[in-house]
Chain length 242, copies 2
């Protein structure tokens, strides 16, 4: 039924479509999540953050991705996670390079931003409540980011439980759903799903430490995981030819 609503309006959301808030960085994962939410018939409200990260190139990319994948709205909220520091993405700590998969799997990496996904989901919840939306999508993944506590199923379940207790919608009997469709996929599976839904990965940017103009460094964990995904599928990364 939801699919047919989408079929009737391929480029615009059906007025009867349910609204969802979709967390959108400029990376491969969240672009895929937006495509999935759209394919499930949701009117997608994409939410990005400018959080004092080193790579501001990603905001332009997020805007292009939101437009290309048919989000009905896109907001960027500025938040100051640099006020707290504690991560290579929010403080003057070098981003680790050339780590093996085994090294990435060991412990919590320095690129972990304390409570970041909790903060992101809190803002998504605020917008969802104002919109009357009960569905929130997030591109967390427990395989690639096994070290990040806020990328695990127990975290998502705990946030969903919190959302029902935190809000007017919950108090009136509504129930939120936090969707994490990538949770158990590896990078190749994510890319394959996105390609089937028409995602142009050429406009995504995964790097933790991009150079001028958003050029990926090719050596941080995010670049290495992305390259591994494309390699496993036997196809070139379209972002590397631009």
């Amino acid at each position: 039924m939801i699919r047919s609503a989408q079929a009737k309006h391929p480029n615009a959301p059906a007025s009867e479509a349910r609204k969802a808030v979709v967390l959108l960085s400029c990376g491969l994962d969240s672009a895929t999540v937006l495509a999935i939410a759209r394919a499930r018939g949701f009117a997608c409200h994409a939410l990005s953050f400018r959080y004092g990260q080193h790579h501001r190139a990603e905001l332009g990319a997020a805007r292009r991705i939101a437009r290309a994948l048919g989000a009905v709205a896109h907001k960027t909220v500025r938040i100051d996670l640099r006020a707290f520091g504690g991560s290579a993405l929010t403080a003057d700590i070098p981003v680790p390079k050339n780590r093996s998969t085994r090294e990435m799997e060991r412990g919590i990496p320095i690129t972990y931003v304390p409570a970041r996904n909790t903060v992101f989901l809190s803002f998504a919840l605020a917008w969802a409540e104002v919109l009357g939306a009960r569905d929130i999508f997030i591109g967390v993944n427990a395989l690639d980011f096994s070290g990040y506590p806020d990328c695990r199923p127990a975290f998502i379940r705990a946030f969903q439980r919190l959302a029902d207790r935190a809000t007017r919608i919950g108090a009136e009997g509504g129930r939120f759903r936090i969707h994490a469709p990538l949770m158990k996929w590896n990078k190749a599976e994510i890319i394959r799903a996105g390609l089937a839904l028409g995602v142009d990965y050429g406009i995504t940017l995964s790097c933790y430490d991009p150079g001028p103009g958003g050029r990926p460094c090719g050596r941080c964990d995010a670049c290495l995981l992305r390259a591994k995904g494309f390699r496993e599928l036997g196809i070139p990364d379209p972002a590397l030819n631009r």
Copy 2:
């Protein structure tokens, strides 16, 4: 033991004091909470927000309160809840005036800011994790704000559960505690506890809709509840004589 640590260092935190993050607006409730956390021997890190609320007068007041009550640090984080609107405190919606206690108790008031306490606690959690603190204090109150879902015990419990799952500290076996010491007190009980701890309520500001210079309107829910508290104790509100 914690008390004796405080006794040894009356005006500065003992180096052995446990750190806590204390959410601090400029109001009567959070000032009392800061005094309670300090009296329990915590080295208090006060956290305020500038969130596009109409009353910016409160930020100067929060700074004065943090200093007067011995916080070891005070940060103000700017966040943009106006991006979403949906409340008389974040959108161009009039603040209700002259409501009876019965009217205040009915339903969720328009001054409820969607997901506000979830957002505030998320930032507190981020700072706590960077500090290595496991204690977070918040001045929510289920009596005066019975209509706000994010002021109830079930919300606090759900956030505490989330905190353990969201963080490096939790992943390594640590346990957070979200303290809401005012939860079951009425305004008179809160004021009495604060006075016993030396809180100067003359520097606090509770109004939702203050005039120039932070002058309280005297007619919004926050002003009316505050006035009722002082009236029940039979003492004048020191903030009204400045």
